[in-house]
Amino acid sequence: MARAPDPDRDRHGWKWLLSAPALVVLVLAASGPLLIVAVYSFLSPGNMGGVAWEPSLEGWFKVFFSRDIFDPENVSWNTANLTVFWRTVWLSIQTTLICAVLGFPTAWFIATRPPHRRALWLFLITIPFWTNLLIRTFAIQELIRGTGMLNTVLLALHVIDEPLQLLYSNFAILLGMAYVFLPLMVLPLYAAMDKLDFRLVEAGYDLYASRWRVLWHVILPLVKPGFVAGSILVFIPSIGAYVTPRVLGGGRTMMLGNLIALQFGQGRNWPLGAALAMLLLILVTVALVVYLRAVNAEDEEKRHG
């Protein structure tokens, strides 16, 4: 006997179509180009850029190993690439730490203002986003260069006798990156603090906890989700940073982004560039998974312990 069709099931059957726009965007805009990069990394370099459709593992080989230029039989680790990798990761970690140290008091300050004032302070935090990144980076360059504003003022005040060489140093890169990414740390931290129940802080004081203990055992654990989100938001774009190290670092040392650009441009080795780009992607994914697992495991432990 035929049953009447279930109207509910019918509706559900078509419901997935509603997600079609999101799927199309994800497949075409995200996976598509990535797939091309992945394929390119297994091909041979074309003449004057581009790729030749001959499968090859040379691109991946050259990421990790190098044949000695003057003795091709002699294969060793590619220390140049690995140095660039390590510098990129290390600078990104430092940037994240600086942003966390500066971002925490900033977010705390905002979260402890009266509610009607917070909107104003948050609004001030977003002001840098109104101007193009490149222009802001050049503005920093103008501030700290040899005959720039900072040196001129310090010289006039007789604090220093000779202009400080601040530009084109690791200090300049860190300054620029921390400046650019700081809002990305402040905003999630503020979101976490906004939800913070200040009665818990008061309870801590009532139980004779010192200020330090309250900060360490009450506040920090409660705003940890903000730190996690902020660290991810700062660390990932730092690893791919291109403009800031390029303009403020003076180009004497490369970051990963610059190394990849070199292979696609003057180096004319697209497969190597593609392999480096894929490796960057894998690195970030692995770092994220490890980080989130560690955070979750710690939470689990606390819940059971």
Partner: protein, 343 residues
């Protein structure tokens, strides 16, 4: 009344028709390189409206045009890339019926290796890559690569080198005794690499460096292009441009018509237009490089005609050499050295 209306309509139709016949022209060129004054005059003279799109490197331009669907009519590649453009069929031969004045090209640029007989390209601008140094601090010989590769103490830590692999490698290879930038002579390459590695700690930056940095004295010396050097000297007369006697790169950018140009006829008209001495001079007056067109000197700005950056001293002309594009396997060695230098 009716009559006026009709004649007005006729006028509108006529002018619309004229505008269509005049058409447009899309130029794909290096940024900040095309004299706006020249473009204005070209549009006034021919009625052709010009759009300019910038590229920042030969590799970018080549990659984009290879993809097709770009909509450009004219491109301006550097000499070392011209053969690739021709061999891949990306350019079309110049139409002798429209491009009638190729004889205006100076004899030394008329029959060049990268485009024998100038079938595809005409000169846009040419120049050299040399050494710019601040003579208020440095009093030695300016025509030497030692300023960069073995810098004296007064320049230590105040040197900038442009991040152009081919230019820097060329100067180092010449200084290391090589006579061909694409050399596969491992002894020369090893010496060049060692010189660069030893020199790098004395450099401040490997950046394009702005003219202002040189003028303000933030940078005291560097590898730089002659036209930019001239612009810097006009702001700070202490700056002097030297030609390393061991060898220095010469380059020429060339205008060509793309094979899939939408407006090939207008493109040919433009090519012939810039072959006229007074128009070529306008290009030079803007970009501050020489143009390779006979008779353009008299239309150039006073300061340019005998500028030491533009007019190479006769005894140093021979040290200037065109750098070809290197074969892939050589290019990889050069990239490896460059990566080692910048690691």
């Amino acid at each position: 009344m009716k009559k006026t209306l009709i004649s007005t309509l006729a006028l509108i139709v006529a002018s619309a028709g004229a505008a269509q016949a005049d058409g447009v022209l899309n130029i794909y060129n290096w940024g900040n390189y095309t004299s706006p004054e020249l473009i204005e005059q070209f549009t006034r003279d021919t009625g052709i409206a010009v759009t300019i799109t910038d590229f920042d490197s030969n590799d970018t331009a080549l990659a984009r045009v290879r993809q097709g669907g770009h909509g450009f009519d004219i491109v301006v590649p550097t000499h070392s890339y011209v053969q690739t453009w021709i061999q891949e069929g990306l350019l079309q031969p110049l139409d002798p019926a429209i491009v009638t004045d190729r004889d205006n090209i100076a004899p030394q640029w008329r029959d060049v290796d990268f485009d024998p007989g100038r079938e595809y390209t005409v000169p846009w601008q040419w120049g050299t890559t040399g050494v710019l140094v601040n003579t208020s601090v440095y009093h030695g010989d300016i025509n030497t690569a030692d300023i960069i590769l073995n810098p004296p103490p007064e320049l230590d830590g105040r040197i900038n080198v442009i991040p152009e692999m081919s230019d820097v490698m060329a100067i180092a290879i010449y200084a290391a005794g090589g006579d061909n930038v694409c050399t596969s002579d491992m002894d020369v390459l090893r010496r060049a690499r060692d010189m660069l590695m030893a020199a790098k700690p004395h450099w401040l930056s490997i950046d394009y460096g702005t003219i202002d940095n040189y003028a303000a004295g933030d940078i005291l010396a560097g590898i730089y292009w002659n036209g930019a050097s001239m612009r810097a000297r006009l702001q700070n007369p202490d700056l002097a441009y030297g030609y390393p006697t061991t060898g220095y790169p010469v380059w020429m950018d060339n205008a060509a018509v793309l094979a899939d140009a939408q407006n090939p006829e207008n493109a040919m008209i433009f090519i012939n237009y810039i072959l006229q001495p007074e128009h070529a001079a306008m290009l030079s007056n803007f970009a501050r490089y020489a143009n390779g067109i006979t008779g353009s000197e008299e239309f150039m700005d006073e300061g340019m005609r005998n500028a030491p950056e533009i007019v190479i001293p006769p005894e140093l002309v021979a040290a200037g050499r065109f750098s070809p594009a290197c074969p892939q396997e050589i290019q990889e060695i050069r990239t490896q050295i460059w990566t080692e230098l910048l690691q």
